[in-house]
């Protein structure tokens, strides 16, 4: 039985090494954000935090890196896009499940097809279109397209097919409730768990977007978090190592909070996404 114990040992060794590999870059990042530039230069690696957090924060004053602005902008865009995605995907999925209409099947096939088209392929045309109608530097250009989210519709449909009691609609009709009201008051609350899962992914996905915001938003005051963070590469910060680490830490802080509060649901959500094939 020693060979079994050895293989067990190897297993846990590999798992622990991988766990360290996942955490290490972030640990260094957080610790270095509390250290002064001189300290970082002398020894870039340390497991002991220092007390220069406020000094590093002060470096940002008067510079274009404004994490609070970036945070607010990101919340508006990601929040708006998430609400659009969730509400309209649920509505579309509801149309696919609750009603019997002629084009129902072709429409679903259509959604499956467009799910596969990667978004970046349309970026140049999208930019030109937005430029023409004066929607560059406008958050709506990043929020409204979220109304059509084919993969979210797909997920919602699967969820509805599996666990939506269609008899409820009949009793609502007997009570004389109009269809749209039934959707908002009766159907949506039942969809809450699926909406929450998809909401997290939609929010994080929008929060992390770089490509489209970087071509559409050219004004500093409209920058989102990922655009803010890309400024940390600029020359002005080259000599302020502590501040760069702090900037990186600030931009991922909201994601850390979301993740550690909701990791259970997020992991379950990822697993659900996988069985859709």
């Amino acid at each position: 039985m020693t060979s079994k114990r050895v293989s067990r040992g190897i297993k846990y060794f590999v798992l622990i090494v991988l766990a360290i590999m996942s955490l290490f870059p972030f640990v260094i990042m957080v610790i270095n954000s509390t250290r002064s530039t001189t300290q970082v230069q002398q020894h870039a690696i340390s497991l002991i935090p220092s007390h220069y957090l406020m000094n590093n924060w002060a470096v940002f004053n008067g510079k274009t890196f404004d994490p609070i602005r970036g945070f607010i902008n990101s919340v508006i865009i990601s929040g708006g896009a998430t609400i659009c995605t969730i509400y309209f995907s649920t509505l579309t999925a509801y149309a696919l499940v609750a009603y019997n209409w002629k084009l129902r099947k072709p429409f679903f096939t259509f959604i499956l097809c467009i799910m596969m088209i990667p978004g970046q392929v349309t970026a140049i045309g999208f930019y030109q279109f937005m430029f023409r109608i004066g929607m560059t530097n406008n958050f709506l250009a990043l929020i409204l397209p979220a109304i059509a989210a084919p993969s979210c519709v797909f997920f919602m449909r699967q969820f509805m097919l599996a666990s939506f009691p269609l008899e409820l609609l009949d009793s609502a009709r007997i009570d004389g409730s109009p269809e749209f009201r039934t959707f908002n008051r009766i159907s949506m609350p039942i969809m809450k768990p699926a909406m929450a899962t998809q909401g997290i992914f939609s929010f994080v996905g929008n929060w992390n977007q770089l490509f489209l915001p970087s071509i559409l938003l050219t004004r500093n005051t409209l920058y989102t978090m990922p655009l803010m963070v890309s400024q940390l590469k600029g020359d002005i910060y080259k000599v302020e190592y502590g501040a760069v680490y702090l900037g990186l830490t600030i931009t991922v802080l909201p994601l850390f909070v979301i993740y550690f509060l909701l990791s259970k649901y997020i992991i379950a959500g990822v697993a659900l996404g996988g069985v859709k094939g």
């Binding site: 991988l18 590999m21 509505l91 129902r104 990667p118 140049i124 397209p145 190592y241 990791s263």
Partner: protein, 303 residues
């Protein structure tokens, strides 16, 4: 009878409730796609220029220019190489971890913890991660060089971001590091979806872990492996955030991917929207052909 009449009537709500999706798709997704395709055949260039004319004479000029462009060829090659460099280790490790985490005879303790930690990098902004790695590999005084020199593994610091091979491996590693946890969770959920009776039967027939894994688990994961392969391929061919933010495709264009190339054509230098559009459409065709090929290759031959 009245009921039946009413039931017929409800069908219109199906159309009605699909309208917002359809309109948003037509306006914000389909129209820009067609617009991009058309721009590829025009002379549209120059910062903020929106007026253009369809090319006269050689209508495929932009496509020809792009296909013959040495930098585009390099970027295409890089995109494929970087994807392979990250995908092979990623799927290998994900399969290994899946085998460990779903082993019936040898349960791993702390699975929940490991899953949460392995998946974590996936949720963090790719732009931030890329810059973080750039800083970690700083020359001469970054943390990695600090470790290498302090431990005596190297006598002097190594200029990672100036070395083409090292930069490629770092970019591929970041991609691998961000995605193996995701792939693992997908595969685990796939294994858990396999009928347990098949495993019990194999156990009774005296199959060992190795045989069970190759003869039962892998064939039953075919659909999910296809899904993983295609989504990873589409993502890989669209790689942008990490190479762009890590070192802007440098050094010496060694990490320049097709999407970074497209961005640089359209939104830097001489603002060649037409060529960027042509390059986008070429990428679109490549992605479509590759996806169909994988589907065909991985199809279930029994049906």
């Amino acid at each position: 009878m009245k009921q039946k009449g009413k039931g017929f009537n409800y069908a219109r709500y199906g159309y009605l409730f699909s309208i917002p999706f359809v309109i948003a798709y037509l306006v914000f997704h389909l129209y820009p796609t067609i617009y991009t395709a058309i721009l590829g055949f025009t002379d549209c260039k120059g910062l903020g220029n929106t007026s253009w004319h369809i090319l006269t004479g050689d209508i495929w000029k932009n496509f020809r220019t792009i296909l013959n462009n040495a930098t585009f060829q390099t970027s295409l090659k890089n995109t494929v190489v970087l994807w392979i460099m990250n995908f092979i280790p990623q799927i290998t490790l994900a399969l290994l971890l899946t085998a460990w985490f779903t082993s019936r005879s040898n349960k791993v303790r702390g699975q929940g913890f490991f899953k949460v930690v392995f998946y974590m990098p996936n949720i963090i902004t790719a732009a931030t991660v890329a810059i973080l790695f750039n800083v970690l590999f700083y020359y001469p005084k970054g943390p990695i060089n600090d470790i290498l020199v302090s431990l005596g593994l190297r006598s002097e610091p190594f200029y990672f971001t100036n070395n083409t091979t090292a930069s490629r491996w770092i970019v591929a590693f970041i991609q691998f590091w961000m995605w193996y946890g995701y792939t693992m969770i997908i595969l685990i959920s796939g294994v858990l979806g396999i009928n347990p009776e098949i495993f019990e039967a194999a156990e009774i027939d005296g199959a060992n872990n190795w045989q069970t894994f190759w003869r039962i688990t892998i064939p039953n994961l075919r659909t999910i492996l296809t899904y993983t392969l295609i989504t990873s391929m589409i993502g890989g061919l669209n790689m942008y955030d990490i190479p762009k933010m890590f070192n802007n495709g440098n050094p010496n264009n060694s990490t320049l991917t097709a999407n970074v190339f497209i961005y640089n054509q359209a939104f830097a230098g001489s603002y060649m929207y037409n060529r960027a559009a042509a390059a986008s459409m070429i990428m679109f065709v490549i992605i479509a052909v590759c996806s169909i090929f994988v589907f065909y290759l991985m199809r279930d031959r029994k049906n």
